[in-house]
Amino acid sequence: MTFATYNSTRLSFWSRLTSDRLPFTVALSFLIVAMAIAWSLAPGLFTSHDPVNGVPAHKLLGPSLQYWFGTDHLGRDLYTRVVYGTASSVSSALIAVLIGVFAGGLIGLLSGFLGGWVDTTLARLVDVLLAIPKFLLAVIVVTAIGFDTTNAAIATGVSAVAVFARVMRSEVIKTRQATFVEAAYLAGGSRWHILWRHVLPNASRSVLPLAVLHFGDSILVIASLAFLGYGDPPPASDWGLLISIGKDYLKWPWLVYAPAFVTIATVLSVNRISRWLRKTD
């Protein structure tokens, strides 16, 4: 019965992935995300140009075979800058999601499982976090802890805690009332054993698609913070920062369109994967 769900979930994820009924758009999305991960792990493999020092004679050139995305006002290859900026844009989004999942998950788990005054207290905290507009919360947190990309990621993670806490709480409450949990109690299982072995694994199932969705969302929020200048300063090349620099050179529109296209393609792929995970679950 429901006992088997925990083990079969992981199996089914891989069988889902390798089944031949994988929709085309989902396959493409995985490809794009894999590409972004490869860019962030080994940017040097994908380009032979220098991301920081340009060729001044080649400034503001349009896209060509030599410079795929054109060059910027210092003669730097824009494609190279985008590739090198991937690491901080993507890994910072990962940090943000991890903070959201762990802090939010813990709050939701405790609040849903223990109930009582713990639940009431934590629920108020979550309400408060939800009441402050997400982006504004990220802005004041990053103001408080200082402007750089890691701090922007932490701020983004903090602003996502409430959503994860809410979903986790409702899932825990749902799971706690399941027959197999009652059976585990009757079989003499301790509270923590049941929490750890039965409630947590089953409740976290629906957190996975949400985490993937928030990964895309975090890329956008971090790009917005970088766009406003709250991330690492140049010569860093976070995607949001590249777009922000490009906006002063709208006569050479590829400086905005190329990094924007990469951002949108990545986030769109992440969202598509999240939707597919939710649907096939």
Binding site: I140, Q177, L228
Partner: protein
């Protein structure tokens, strides 16, 4: 207006007040305690360029030499009586600073919301009536696409196409009609996606109901079915979603104002962030929380009156309601 409703309203009102107070405290903690000592961080920062006398004056004026809890208490009680404090930079009352820029942001946010609503209804209508071969599936993908585009990119693309290429508006006149119009589009598009998603999901749900099948079997045309029967029950949950997007309207206008060069709450926040003007930040963030809480309170209080199917919780037979729990047949809003 039965007693259950009155109890529910009283409870929600109490919760709202508690949340507003706690939001103020949380903001205070983040803004003035986390960075350590604001005096050394902000005032003595060589970049700020304050002289020692000025620093002493500001410390005295803001009461920064008092214990943190005393500061919190006096600032919170001032906030409750409508006193938002004095800016550390311009030495003018924060309420005046906010009052100067508020109309511009309200215009932008209201027109952004209008754009979002129109777009959402058009998309939802399209997904029901566009034949499959004319791109119904594509239209269903729109909300997902809109949610994947950073709104500063939408703004920049609009400026590039309509400002520079077509010359419809001039970037140096950010308050002109067309500049505001395109700023509202940039702000409204990502928000329309959230509204459209809920609207489409509810339309699908309502179309599967028996009453819709009955109406269809009586020979009602598709357009009539949509307008007379499906739209009303499907748009009720949208009330809740609109209330929830208020926060995003505020956050989004921060970016949109920067992109379009408008003066507003967003530019005020940006200026205060770069000069570390803590009283202004504290006031703006807590007011944003107040707006969010009040709007959501109104939505929650109005909702049971709009939809008689909604049963009020909080009675002894309460059972947990989850985001995806739709077994009761009552559409619930997505809270994320």
């Amino acid at each position: 207006m039965n007693s259950a409703y009155r109890a529910y309203a009283a409870k929600r009102l109490f919760q709202a007040v508690v949340v507003i107070l706690l939001a103020y405290v949380l903001t205070f903690v983040v803004v003035s305690i986390l960075p350590g000592d604001p005096i050394t961080n902000v005032l003595r920062n060589p970049q700020s360029g304050f002289s020692e006398e000025e620093i002493a004056e500001i410390i005295a004026a803001q009461g920064l030499d008092r214990p943190v809890l005393v500061q919190l208490w006096s600032s919170l009680s001032a906030f409750l009586t409508g006193d938002l404090g004095i800016s550390m930079r311009s030495h003018r009352p924060v309420a005046t600073l906010i009052g100067e820029v508020l109309p511009s942001t309200l215009i932008l946010a209201a027109s952004g919301l209008l754009v979002a609503l129109v777009l959402a209804v058009v998309i939802a209508y399209g997904t029901r009536f566009l034949p499959k071969r004319y791109g119904q599936g594509l239209l269903r993908g729109f909300p997902s696409l809109f949610l994947s585009v950073p709104n500063f990119v939408i703004g920049l693309v609009l400026i590039h196409i309509f400002g520079f290429q077509l010359g419809i508006f001039r970037v140096i006149e950010p308050d002109s009609f067309w500049a505001t119009f395109f700023a509202a589009i940039a702000l409204g598009i990502p928000i329309s996606a959230q509204i459209a998603e809920v609207l489409i999901a509810n339309l699908d749900h309502e179309a599967d109901q028996e009453y819709a099948a009955v109406a269809r079997s009586r020979g009602l045309s598709k357009a009539r079915l949509f307008a007379r029967h499906l739209l009303k029950p499907s748009s009720l949950p949208v009330v809740t979603v609109i209330a929830l997007t208020i926060g995003e309207l505020l956050g989004g206008s921060l970016i949109t104002e920067t992109v379009f060069g408008r003066t507003g709450i967003g530019s005020l926040v940006q200026r205060s962030v770069s000069t570390q003007d803590l009283p202004v930040l504290q006031a703006v963030v807590s007011l944003a929380a107040v707006v969010f809480v009040v709007v959501n309170l109104i939505a929650d209080l109005v909702y049971p009156l709009l939809d008689p199917r909604v049963k009020l919780l909080g009675t002894p037979q309460r059972r947990p309601v989850t985001a995806d729990d739709n077994s009761s047949g009552i559409p619930t809003a997505v809270t994320s």
